[in-house]
Amino acid sequence: MDADLFFILLTVTGTLGAASAVALRKWERACAAVSFGAAALSALFGTIVAIMVLTGSPMNIQLPFDTPFGYFGFSLDRLGGFFLLVISIVSFAVSIYSIGYSREYDGKYSIALLGLLFNAFLLAMAFVVSANNAIFFLIVWESMSLTSYLLVVYENRKEGIASSGLLYVVMTHLGTALIMVALIMMGIYAHSFEFSAYSGVGALMPSVLKSTLFVLLFIGFGTKAGIIPLHVWLPYAHPAAPSNVSALMSGVMVKTAVFMLIRTFFDFLGVTDTWWGLLVLLVASISALLGVMYALMETDIKRVLAYSTVENVGIILIGMGAAMVFESYHLDMLAGLALIATLLHVMNHAFFKGALFMGAGSILFATHTKDMEKLGGLARKMKWTGIIFFIGALSIAAIPPFNGFVSEWLIFQSLLQSSQIPDMTVKVLLPVTIAILALTGALAAVCFVRLFGIVFLAKPRSEQAEHAEEVPRTMLIGSGLAAILCIVTGVFSFAIIPYVDQVTTPLVGASAASSIVNGFVISPTNDQFSTMSPFVLAILIAVMVPLVIVISKRYGGKRKTVVGDTWDCGTPLTARNQYTGTAYSNPLVRVFSYIYRPRPEVKTESTSSPYVKKRLSYTFVVVPVFEKYLYRPIVVVMVALARWVSKIQAGSIQAYLAYIFATLVLLLIIFR
């Protein structure tokens, strides 16, 4: 059995899924079951293909017709395979989840449309990582953007959905334009638009052009990846989409951008200048830090998660940037280490962000709100959702031995290797990145303590939360799968790394695995720098926790526990006494006020006497810096310009003719 066959199966099932969605539009439940089932199946095929490719049977399919850009088709090397694996696994989980989740829309919006677009989206993503021709890639890439755009505006009657979608589609389109130029320029130098001819094309270019293309690609794909300041669309679009789609967009789609960044930088252009890596590091650090900081401010669960995606992409790119710096000094081993860390984090983030977004979806499903301030106490009402979400939170907060911790640890280690860089200034710069990364990690922990604590613990803050019930089984299975993977990929990372290494080896030209992994233990390349074994850690925890429990139960004999009220200083507590999400993050706002520029304002309606207030209302906003100072002006200028030009169409026929006359005379005089 070769991979080609399974890839074809993937395509066919996906298409059938889309078709069946339309065919069964009358029977919503059946429609959901069939179309999402098909999606799950095709994701399964995707997983098979990916595994086959990763175990060394490359895939290659060619479409049977010619275009001015040569033949279109699909081919997968190990890098593509790795990303296809991530995509497929998450897609699989999400597809299953969607069967239940789509109930949310029964009778409100067309399930058929959802199924159709969902399948199309999955296919598009699978194609993006496997397209073998620049133009074909652009086609599928943009198709992916458009299907996701249509999914974002799926709940189209909702307030503000249209504008969120617009922002998204416009930003991503701008990005694509730049990518287009870059890829085509490469094609011109490679004398072919097939990716097979692209690798190493950078060597043929003048360095100025090369650097220009680097910048174009970084901005272009950066837009999709959501790096600051190109992230503006992300916190609007991801929350706007149906939660299952958000999971895909945040978990997987942004990764396709990372995929292409790695592909283009390491494979096509070849990293030669150090400043490339430094630029990436700079931008990535800013994204990571600001991303998590904005995440801390949000009270909309899905926006929190969206911003945390910005943060994690930042972390991923920090890894990649480090790899680029090392590569530029031909420290191949270290580049390999950094790249492995990057790819691991790509995978891990896909899993825990998938779990978290699905969890958020479940909350939405059960309570019909995603506003933290209206939630609370769900851990008791939705036990399993709570646990799943908690696992996700632990992973993203890099609690050992969950997967988030492993990749973050590796990134730290690879940054620490900066001591081997010959250049002094660069050496001194990297520790700053370390500091920022550390700070980011800590803030991320705060962010998710806050999120989980406010949403799942203590008293419910509203009616909906009061009457929340556990979500359907399919949703639990889907999100649970992702959660389990968070643990597995963490604990057994020592087994995964060698495969990842095979992915990076051709890119950096050196295999790092042998020195990274020995037995259960992971250690960065240069021997005895430091070691860590998530596997053994897991065992220790598995032993220690029960031990503690047993001992503490034994010692002092059996004692009964009485259930009582929370300590309330004598006045009965209501849900309004609890700390809110805003209050929780308030200390940090005050600490980092120079970044947040908070605009708190207190309104008091006083009665006749100034001492008796009728009402005190407190509103608090964080200024969206980039939108206000970067994007708004551009739009304003554009529109003003347009208005100015549009004066020529004033309706007077004489004027119209005058234009023609002027043009004519002018041309005749110039070119006579």
């Binding site: 479409l63 017709f65 010619d66 275009t67 001015p68 850009f69 279109f72 067309s110 133009i135 074909f136 652009l138 086609i139 599928v140 890439w141 943009e142 198709s143 458009l146 249509l150 505006v153 189209n156 009657r157 959905i161 249209a162 504008s163 979608g165 617009l166 589609v169 416009v170 389109h173 701008l174 334009a177 287009m180 130029v181 085509i184 320029m185 094609g187 011109i188 554009m638 529109v639 310009l641 347009a642 208005r643 030009v645 549009s646 020529i648 169409q649 026929i653 119209y656 003719l657 234009y659 023609i660 043009t663 004519l664 041309l667 005749l668 070119f671 006579r672």
Partner: protein
């Protein structure tokens, strides 16, 4: 012989429609006529592809004309089919009497006839006459709904285009003059084939002036800025199927006129004509972009987008080189198909909402889901998003530009495309999404409208990833006219 038959068909159809009595009859006749026309045209096109150019008496068909022929007849077919539900709806709404409807169908077919004449006549003079004729006939179609706006639009259309056309005639004369020193006053000295054959000896100074006049003259009809001013008025006021025809086909016909001269001039004065084309192309795109941003009327929006796309085509030809030409040619077809789809969709909206004002149209996705899907798809396609066909042609042109190192031009081109995309999507998403407009009942109009629209969508979707071999070969053949080869 086949040619005479073909151009006879629309005239005969018009006549038959004229003598019909009931609505059903005229619909039947008109459909039959257009289908027959399309069939014959296809046969001829196939003929040209199979065994080369056709040239006798005043006719001349090479691959380029054949290509245009296909576009004209196909879009004509689509528009004619769509006309049936559209017009009958108008009649139902008491907007039209049956006699007016008949008048409409007659004009429609005569219009088709004039456009056919443009592309199959060898003699540049006759081509000019044909183009002028298209103006005169379509003027009535533009002013068809005889309210004040329509009349105004028609008048502007008539005057501005006639003036432009007159300049074009001047250009034609000069082109002729440039030839007499070589060919003497032979009556076929105005034949394109003859001129092309002797292009090298023609008097360059005269030709340059001639081409400027042609560029401005026919350019007016193509709708290149700053001669475009009539276009938004005419396209927004005409009955929607006619708008589709105007945007999709008529503009291409005028462009065809320019191309014929471009071919000659680029031989005798290399680079001159392409520079002009490139210039006008970019200017048109820029102006169109501005108007698309501030658009308030969705039919005008589409009209401006037509200006933009004519600009792109001109740009492509200006860029030149195989990819530039190939892209531009492909774009002619793609634009015709997509714009036709858009206008048909616009027709649905217009008849549903009874307004052309963007700000008064909300929640189409809820009210008319199918139309919404088609319209959004069309919008994405027209703004050059994959997987629709326009993307392919635009990228081809862009590649041509980059490989011929026109970095600045391409830079502007891309910037404008991006801006237009943003503006266009802004308007469209405002119309399609959100809470529906008050007092508009849910539900689609006649189902038969979706036959042509669906066909068009499928075509642009398929051609988005794959160019049929015949088409590919045909385009390569046309490109060879421009002395460029893959």
């Amino acid at each position: 012989m086949m040619l005479e038959i073909m151009i006879a068909i629309p005239l005969v159809t018009a006549l038959l429609v004229f003598i019909t009595r009931s609505r059903r009859q005229m619909e039947l006749v008109s459909t039959a006529g257009i289908v027959a026309l399309f069939a014959v045209a296809c046969y001829i096109v196939y003929d040209v592809i199979a065994d080369g150019n056709i040239e006798y008496s005043i006719w001349y068909l090479d691959s380029l004309s054949a290509y245009m022929l296909f576009i004209i007849t196909f879009i004509g077919l689509m528009a004619a089919i769509y006309s049936i539900p559209y017009i009958s709806h108008e009649i139902k709404e008491r907007e039209l009497t049956v006699d007016r409807a008949k008048y409409y169908y007659v004009l429609f077919h005569v219009f088709m006839f004039t456009m056919l004449m443009v592309v199959i006549s060898n003699n540049l003079g006759i081509m000019w006459i044909a183009i002028e004729a298209t103006t005169l006939v379509s003027a009535f179609l533009v002013g068809f709904t005889e309210n004040d706006m329509a009349v105004e639009a028609a008048w502007k259309y008539l005057i501005i285009c006639s003036v432009g056309i007159t300049l074009a005639l001047f250009g034609t004369i000069l082109a002729y003059a440039s030839s007499i020193t070589v060919l003497g006053e032979s009556s076929d000295a105005l034949n394109w084939s003859t001129l092309m054959a002797n292009a090298a000896q023609l008097d360059p100074t005269l030709l340059k002036i001639s081409f400027i006049l042609i560029m401005v003259g026919y350019g007016t009809k193509v709708g290149l800025a700053p001669m475009h001013t009539w276009l938004p008025d005419a396209h927004s006021q005409a009955p929607t199927p006619v708008s589709a025809l105007l945007s999709g086909v008529l503009l291409n016909c005028a462009m065809y006129g320019i191309l014929r001269y471009h071919l000659i001039v680029s031989v005798s004065v290399p680079g001159f004509s392409s520079t002009l084309l490139l210039l006008f192309g970019l200017v048109s795109m820029a102006v169109a972009a501005a108007f698309i941003i501030v658009a308030r009327d969705f039919k005008r929006l589409l009209a401006y987008s037509s200006i933009e796309h004519m600009g792109i085509i001109a740009f492509g030809f200006g860029i030149g080189g195989f990819l530039g030409i190939f892209g531009a040619l492909l774009h002619m077809l793609n634009h015709a198909l997509t714009k036709c789809l858009m206008f048909l969709g616009a027709g649905n909206l217009l008849q549903k909402f009874k307004t052309r004002d963007i700000s008064q149209i909300r929640g189409v996705a809820t009210l008319m889901p199918i139309t919404a899907v088609l319209f959004i798809a069309g919008a994405l396609a027209i703004t050059g998003s994959p997987p629709f066909s326009i993307f392919l042609s635009e990228v081809t042109i862009m590649t041509g530009g980059l490989s011929s190192a026109n970095y600045l031009a391409v830079g502007i081109y891309i910037l404008l495309l991006a801006v237009i995309f943003a503006a266009f999507m802004y308007h469209v998403s405002k119309m399609m999404f959100g809470e529906p407009t008050e007092g508009v009942t849910k539900g689609e109009l006649e189902r038969s409208r979706f036959l042509p629209m669906g066909t068009l969508l499928v075509m642009i979707l398929v051609m988005g990833v794959f160019i049929p071999t015949q088409l590919h070969d045909l385009l390569v053949k046309i490109a060879s006219l421009f002395q460029v080869f893959p």
